[in-house]
C-alpha cells in the first residue's frame, strides 16, 4: 500500500489527467467486450464464455487485413464485420442448440470453442506473438493537456468505443429492430406468435455482440501483442464488469467499465499489489448489496 503516493497523485493535475485517461482507455476497451457479453445475456439468456476468443479473433483478423490493405480503419471495420459473421455462424451452428440447457452445457460448448479457436490461431498464425505496430496516422507525439499526457491513438480508442456504445444504445432503444429485440428478451414465444422470426433476431443479436468483441480486438491490436489465448484474461475482467453493471444492462456495463478502469489506473499507484483484489472486492460488495448489479434488473 502506498496511499501517500495516491494522495500526491490526486493532488497533482498532471497525474490526475494522465491516470484518468489511462483509466478510460482500460475501461472503454473492457466496455466494448462486456457490452457484447451483456447484450447476448440480456436477450438470449446465455453466458457466452467464448467471448474472449472472439476478441482474439478480432485482433488477428485486424492484423491480417492490415497486412493486406495497409489501412487501419478498413482493417478495424473488416475485423468487426468478420467476427460478427463468425458470431452468427457460432450462434446458428452451436449456441442455438443449447438455449434453455443448463449453464454447464453452455459452458462446455463455449470451452470447446475456446480450445479449438486457440489451436486454430496457432496453426494459422503460429505460436509466436505478433505485433501490428502503430498505424502511421497515429504515430504522433502524445497530446499534453493540463500537464498530463494523452496518446492520440488512445484518445481515438476512447472516442471510438464511446461512439460504438452510443450507437448500440440508440439501436436498442430507438429503432424497430431494438423494440423487437427487447420484446424477444422479455417473451420470445409471444414475439414469435406475432409472426416475427425470432431466431433471426437472436442470431443478429449474437452477431452484434460478437462484432463488438471483434471491434475491441481490432482497437487493441496496435498496442497489444497478439498471442493465442489472449482473450482469456480480458474475459475475466469483462465478466467482473458485467456482474457489477448488471447482467443485460449496457448502461451498467459502461459505468462498471469506468469503475474498473479507474480502479486499475489509480490502484496501480496507491495499492499496486492489491488492484485485482479491489476489483473482486467491488464485485463481491455489489453481489452482497445488489445481487442484480448496479443497473441490472432481478434475473427472470
Amino acid at each position: 500500500m502506498d496511499l501517500d503516493a495516491l494522495l500526491r497523485c490526486v493532488g497533482t493535475t498532471s497525474c490526475v489527467v494522465t491516470q484518468l485517461t489511462s483509466g478510460m482507455i482500460i475501461g472503454m476497451l473492457l466496455f466494448l467486450i462486456a457490452s457484447g457479453v451483456t447484450l447476448i445475456f440480456g436477450v438470449l439468456n446465455v453466458i457466452n464464455f467464448a467471448h474472449g476468443s472472439l476478441y482474439m479473433i478480432g485482433a488477428y483478423a485486424a492484423w491480417t487485413f492490415y497486412q493486406l490493405t495497409g489501412s487501419y480503419f478498413v482493417s478495424a471495420l473488416g475485423a468487426a464485420v468478420a467476427v460478427g459473421v463468425l458470431g452468427v455462424l457460432f450462434e446458428r451452428v452451436l449456441m442455438s442448440k443449447v438455449y434453455g440447457s443448463n449453464v454447464l452445457m453452455q459452458l462446455l460448448v463455449c470451452y470447446a470453442v475456446v480450445l479449438i479457436s486457440d489451436d486454430l490461431i496457432k496453426i494459422i498464425w503460429g505460436p509466436v506473438p505478433l505485433s501490428m505496430g502503430m498505424p502511421p496516422e497515429f504515430r504522433l507525439p502524445p497530446i499534453r493537456f493540463m500537464g498530463g499526457v494523452i496518446p492520440p491513438f488512445y484518445l481515438f480508442m476512447i472516442l471510438a468505443a464511446m461512439a460504438i456504445g452510443l450507437l448500440l444504445w440508440l439501436v436498442i432503444v430507438r429503432t424497430r429492430f431494438g423494440s423487437i429485440v427487447r420484446a424477444a428478451a422479455i417473451n420470445g414465444p409471444m414475439v414469435s406468435a406475432l409472426g416475427i422470426r425470432v431466431n433471426l433476431y437472436y442470431a443478429a443479436v449474437f452477431g452484434i455482440g460478437s462484432a463488438l468483441a471483434g471491434a475491441a480486438g481490432a482497437l487493441a491490436a496496435p498496442v497489444r501483442s497478439l498471442t493465442p489465448g489472449m482473450g482469456f484474461s480480458i474475459l475475466i475482467e469483462s465478466f467482473i464488469v458485467t456482474v457489477i453493471g448488471g447482467m443485460g444492462s449496457i448502461v451498467g456495463a459502461f459505468v462498471a467499465s469506468i469503475i474498473i478502469g479507474l480502479t486499475r489506473s489509480f490502484g496501480s499507484i496507491g495499492f499496486p499489489l492489491f488492484v485485482d483484489g479491489v476489483m473482486f472486492l467491488i464485485m463481491a460488495l455489489v453481489l452482497i448489496f445488489k445481487p442484480s448489479g448496479l443497473f441490472g434488473r432481478p434475473h427472470r
Binding site: C9, T12, S14, C15, T18, Q19, S22, G23, I25, I26, L29, D118, K122, P127, V128, P129, L130, S131, M132, G133, M134, R139, P141, P142, V149, P151, F153, Y154, A220, P222, V223, R224, S225, T227, P228, G229, M230, S233, I234, R264, S265, G267, S268, I269, P272, L273
Partner: protein, 423 residues
C-alpha cells in the same frame, strides 16, 4: 454413499494404486534397460504456447542444431539422440507433471529443462526425486543453483545467471548514471521469481557502484499481462531519471508498443536487460533507439567468424532467427554430447553429472572462446555478459561493452555470503 462404503472404496483405490505402482515398477525396469540400446531419448519440457511460445520454439532450435549434427555423425555406439518436446505452458504444476511423464512414460533418460523460472524450480524438485541428468537451459533466477538448499547433484544450469548480469549490468549502469547524473530510478519488471530477483540484484549493484542512485518507483506487472497502460502512466508520473526493466519476450514487445505512445523512452534513460534479442527486435515495430540493452544473443557479439557461421547455420536450418534461449540451449546440448562421449553413451544420471561437473567447452559464446560448468554450484560461467546501446536497425545493438568476469566472481562470492549460501 455411506461412510462404510466410502472407506471400502478408499481401500480399493489404495490397493489398485499399489498394484499399479508395482506393475509400473516391474514394467519400468526392463523398459529403461531396453532404452539403453535404442535411441537416447531426451525430454524437453518448455513453453510452446501463449505469449512466450518463442521461448520454446527457439530453445528447441538451439538443441536441434547440435543434436542433428551429433546424429548425422552417427551418434554414439550406434545410438542417436531423439528429443521429446512437451508444452508445459510455463505453469509449475504442469511442468512437474510433464517432466514426470517424459521420464516415466516416454522413457527419457535425460531432461533438458527449457522452462522459464516460473516452472524450472518445479522441474528441479522432480529431478531431485528421480535423479536423471537435468540441465536448466533458460531459468536465470540465481537461487536455482546458488542456494545450497536447492542443490541437486544431477542438475546443472547453462542459462545465464541473474546475479552475473546484475553485477556486470550494475557496473555499466553506474558508469552511465555518474556521467549523466541519473539519480532517481524506477523499475518495471514481471512479478515472479525471475523479475523480482533480477531487478533487486541489478539495483543492488547499480547502487553498489554509484551510491547516489535511489529507487523512487517500482512497478510489478503480472507475467503475460496484456495491458501495461497503468504501468506506463505510473512510470511517467514517477518522473524518474532512469528506468530498469527485466520484462522479456512478448511482454516486453507489448510494453514497448504501449510505452512508445506516451514517449516514455524520450523522457528518461532506459536500461532493459532483455531488449536486444532477435525475438524482440523483430516484433517491435517502433524499436526504441538509444536504450541501454543487455547482451542476449546478437550475431555481432562477439563479432567473430564462428558466431556469424553459427547464426547463418541456425537461420538456414531452423527457418527463424536465434535468440538468447537458442545459444543457452545449444550450450546445454553440447555439454550433453560431450558427457555422452566421456561416459561412452551411458546416460546414468550420476555418471553424466560427474562428466559435466567442471567441464570446459570450446564455445563462441564464451569470453575467452570457451565456457565452463563451474563445479562448486553446477552453473555456467565465462559466457559473454555486457551492455550496448539499441539501434532501430541491424545490428540493433551498438557499442557493446563486455563485462570482465574477475569482479563478477569476487562480488558474486560476497553476495553468496550475504545470502547465507556460503560461509
Amino acid at each position: 454413499m455411506t461412510s462404510t462404503e466410502s472407506r471400502r472404496a478408499s481401500r480399493r483405490q489404495v490397493l489398485k494404486g499399489a498394484g499399479a505402482l508395482a506393475a509400473a515398477g516391474l514394467v519400468g525396469a526392463p523398459a529403461i534397460s531396453r532404452a539403453q540400446t535404442g535411441a537416447i531419448k531426451i525430454g524437453v519440457p518448455t513453453i510452446l504456447s501463449g505469449r512466450v511460445a518463442i521461448l520454446g520454439q527457439t530453445s528447441v532450435g538451439g538443441l536441434k542444431v547440435v543434436f542433428d549434427k551429433f546424429n548425422a555423425a552417427g551418434g554414439i555406439n550406434g545410438r542417436k539422440i531423439e528429443m521429446v518436446v512437451r508444452d508445459s505452458k510455463g505453469a509449475p504444476q504442469e511442468a512437474a507433471k510433464v517432466t514426470r511423464d517424459l521420464i516415466n512414460n516416454d522413457k527419457c533418460e535425460i531432461i533438458l529443462d527449457a522452462e522459464a523460472s516460473s516452472a524450472a524450480f518445479a522441474v528441479q524438485e522432480v529431478i531431485r526425486e528421480i535423479g536423471v541428468l537435468c540441465i536448466h537451459s533458460n531459468s536465470e533466477t540465481s537461487s536455482l543453483t546458488a542456494d545450497p538448499k536447492l542443490h541437486v547433484p544431477t542438475a546443472f544450469r547453462t542459462a545465464r545467471q541473474g546475479i552475473h548480469d546484475a553485477i556486470g549490468g550494475g557496473d555499466y549502469a553506474a558508469k552511465i548514471s555518474k556521467a549523466k547524473g541519473l539519480k532517481k530510478w524506477a523499475t518495471c519488471s514481471p512479478d515472479y521469481a525471475y523479475g523480482r530477483s533480477n531487478t533487486a540484484e541489478f539495483m543492488e549493484y547499480a547502487k553498489h557502484f554509484d551510491g547516489n542512485i535511489q529507487v523512487v518507483e517500482e512497478s510489478w506487472p503480472k507475467l503475460f499481462q496484456p495491458d501495461y497502460t497503468e504501468v506506463v502512466t505510473k512510470l511517467l508520473n514517477a518522473k524518474a531519471d532512469a528506468m530498469y526493466s527485466a520484462l522479456w519476450g512478448g511482454d516486453l514487445v507489448a510494453f514497448i508498443d504501449q510505452a512508445n505512445l506516451y514517449g516514455l523512452f524520450d523522457k528518461q534513460a532506459s536500461f532493459m536487460v532483455n531488449l536486444g534479442d532477435y525475438g524482440v527486435v523483430d516484433q517491435v515495430k517502433q524499436f526504441p533507439q538509444g536504450v541501454y540493452s543487455g547482451g542476449r544473443y546478437n550475431r555481432t557479439v562477439p563479432a567473430t567468424k564462428e558466431n556469424e557461421e553459427w547464426y547463418q547455420n541456425y537461420v538456414k536450418t531452423q527457418k527463424h532467427k536465434p535468440t538468447n534461449w537458442s545459444w543457452e540451449n545449444a550450450v546445454a546440448a553440447e555439454f550433453v554430447v560431450e558427457a555422452l562421449k566421456k561416459t561412452n553413451g551411458d546416460t546414468n544420471g550420476k555418471k553424466m553429472a560427474e562428466a559435466i561437473k567442471g567441464m570446459t567447452l570450446k564455445s563462441q559464446f564464451g569470453t575467452k572462446g570457451s565456457v565452463t560448468m563451474r563445479a562448486e554450484d553446477n552453473t555456467l560461467v565465462d559466457y559473454i555478459i555486457g551492455y550496448g546501446v539499441s539501434l532501430s536497425k541491424e545490428p540493433y545493438v551498438a557499442d557493446f561493452q563486455a563485462s570482465s568476469w574477475e569482479p563478477i566472481f569476487e562480488l558474486e562470492k560476497q553476495w553468496k555470503k550475504k545470502q547465507g549460501y556460503i560461509s
